[in-house]
């Protein structure tokens, strides 16, 4: 199944912000063309940092290492800032949780969108605006001509996120990295935005790396899923396989925590995971989840085996 090279192939990514603590401890991700790969985990597990590390957008002072990091077969680990900038916004684009912080309040929607194309493709401003109007219509915005002339603060949250998506699509990217794109939105709007992402994927053959904490979102949109905990991918599998047959105790615990209408009677407690995420300092060995795990055994403090069921379902655990 690894015949065709993945669009994004990251192996053994490590990120540290301060000398003592590693935020990301060996993350591997493969995003195939035209597919959605979800990275799911709770706050502080390192899912957003992983995305930023791939984009080369980490804060100054952060150190990034990886066995390899390839985009369309090309090494992007050693790229200069200049070459990375050419890649970002062009062949790989990113959208964030709060669109207001990533749109410039001082410029109209149209001029910001056109600017992306003018910068990467050296077209005229008018061509940029035409493309912007076309994309706003594509992301389901009525009266795109009017929206082009508006400022970000004049748009509602749902519209802003649509504008962000349209802006990310300006240069026909092959990879879209979406960091919690629907978390700040209302539930009905969330469903609309997710549908939009799925439709765009089918139409444009877009690969999507979607970062989220919401297992419901993952279940409905992902082809592949990586579950992160304390800076590691503890389980990765196809979405159908992961939800039908979760192997890692953390994944199972997480699934038990989510209330699903009609499955748990009122008055009965939801499943929950005791304890809190540990601080992983240097020299930490064994399983990061062992202190919260009901199946923990002495071996968990020494090492964690990486298991693979042969069909691409991998997880880090002693349990068979």
């Amino acid at each position: 199944m690894h015949d065709a090279p993945a669009l994004l192939d990251v192996e053994g990514l490590r990120v540290r912000f301060n000398p003592k603590i590693e935020a990301i401890r060996g993350v591997s991700l493969r995003v195939e063309r035209g597919q959605t790969h979800c990275v799911v985990g709770e706050s502080g597990c390192g899912k957003s940092v992983s995305a930023l590390a791939v984009m080369g957008l980490l804060a100054r002072g952060a150190k990034r290492h990886a066995a390899h990091m390839r985009f369309d077969g090309q090494d992007i680990l050693g790229l200069s800032e200049r070459d990375l900038q050419k890649l970002r916004g062009d062949r790989m684009a990113m959208i964030f949780q709060e669109p207001m912080t990533s749109l410039n309040p001082a410029y109209t929607v149209g001029s910001q969108m056109a600017e992306v194309l003018v910068r990467h493709r050296r077209v005229s401003k008018q061509q940029g605006l035409d493309r912007a109007a076309e994309l706003l219509a594509k992301v389901g915005i009525t009266a795109p001509g009017m929206r082009l002339a508006q400022y970000p603060h004049q748009l509602s949250g749902g519209l802003r996120q649509r504008v962000m998506i349209a802006m990310a699509l300006m240069c026909d990217p092959e990879l879209l990295i979406a960091d919690e794109p629907t978390t700040a939105l209302d539930v009905t709007v969330q469903a609309q935005i997710l549908r939009l992402l799925r439709d765009l994927q089918q139409e444009l053959g877009l690969a999507i790396l979607l970062i989220t904490h919401d297992l419901g979102v993952v279940a409905r949109i992902a082809h592949k899923v990586s579950v992160m905990y304390a800076g590691e991918v503890v389980e990765s599998a196809s979405a159908t396989d992961l939800f039908a047959n979760p192997r890692h105790p953390y994944t199972r615990g997480l699934l038990a925590c989510v209330p699903v209408p009609g499955t748990i009677k009122r008055g009965e407690p939801l499943g929950s995971i005791p304890g809190t995420v540990p601080r992983i300092a240097d020299g930490f060995v064994g399983c990061g989840f062992r202190d919260r795990c009901v199946h923990a055994m002495p071996a968990c403090a020494i090492s964690v085996p990486s298991r693979d069921d042969g069909a691409g379902h991998r997880y880090l655990c002693h349990l068979q």
Binding site: T188, R220, A222, C257
Partner: protein, 315 residues
Amino acid sequence: MSIAIEVRNATRAFRQSTGVFSTDRTIRAVDGVSFAVETGSCLGIVGESGCGKSTLARLILGLLPVSSGEILVEGQRLADMNRRERARLIQPVFQDPFSSLNPRRRIRDIVAMPLQAQGIAARDQASRVEEMLIRVGLPGSIADRLPAQLSGGQRQRVAIARALVLRPRIVVCDEPTSALDVSVQAQILNLLDELRRDLGLTYIFISHNLAVVEHISDRVAVMYLGRMVEQASTDDLFAAPSHPYTKALLASVLTPEPGLGIPDVGLGDLYPDPANVPPGCRFHPRCPVAEARCAIEVPLPRDLNSHQIECLLAG
């Protein structure tokens, strides 16, 4: 069953200035809302941002006066109570455990604050604070810490302890788990549910998350642009939603079940704006089944198969 809290036709209007030369607009964040909650039960209030659910919470807590209508707590008018009486009956738990605790005060003082406001002796305060902290599952050693030293889940437990230390009758939970991680959310929900049964509390549980509301509430009310468009028992509402908006809300719940795909809620991209309420039925510009008369006629609340709904067409 006795009624713990009754809200009668409550309205809250805000004035919004739109510029130097234009006249102010009036926004009715809550516009003629009525409901009653039975003692010991939990009413879930769901709705999207701008529907007025948080304003309603503030009205019930007495943090804002109603513009018109009235709120009765155990038969007594909320407006006639002084702050101490009100505090003994109703307490809040807010969404963000990072802004709901004063960062400069120790946990002990934060939880003791309602006791102090009642003028209870310092000796009694200490023992009740300690008891309450244990009750919400916190170690006593936490009492001398500052909020910044606690995790989000621990902070929310502190907020719950503060709300319950006076043994109120009613707790207004305004999105109490929305800022928390999934695993912590489950812990807090379980704690709230357990406390309600053990202490005989009445909850008003406000959330945008229908799955959470379904899990914890006995009855659910759906708000849209300041009105309650549908009320029913939780089972009835989830089994047979009647209002088109409730249907859309239920359809957009994403449960972790792969293969179901992403639902088409069919609401279009006209988002509701509380400053610009449409005439007729407020929901008609987004409603997938709206007819011409929906833009003119205002739907009045009516009963339909044990649901109370505001829709001209349903039924």
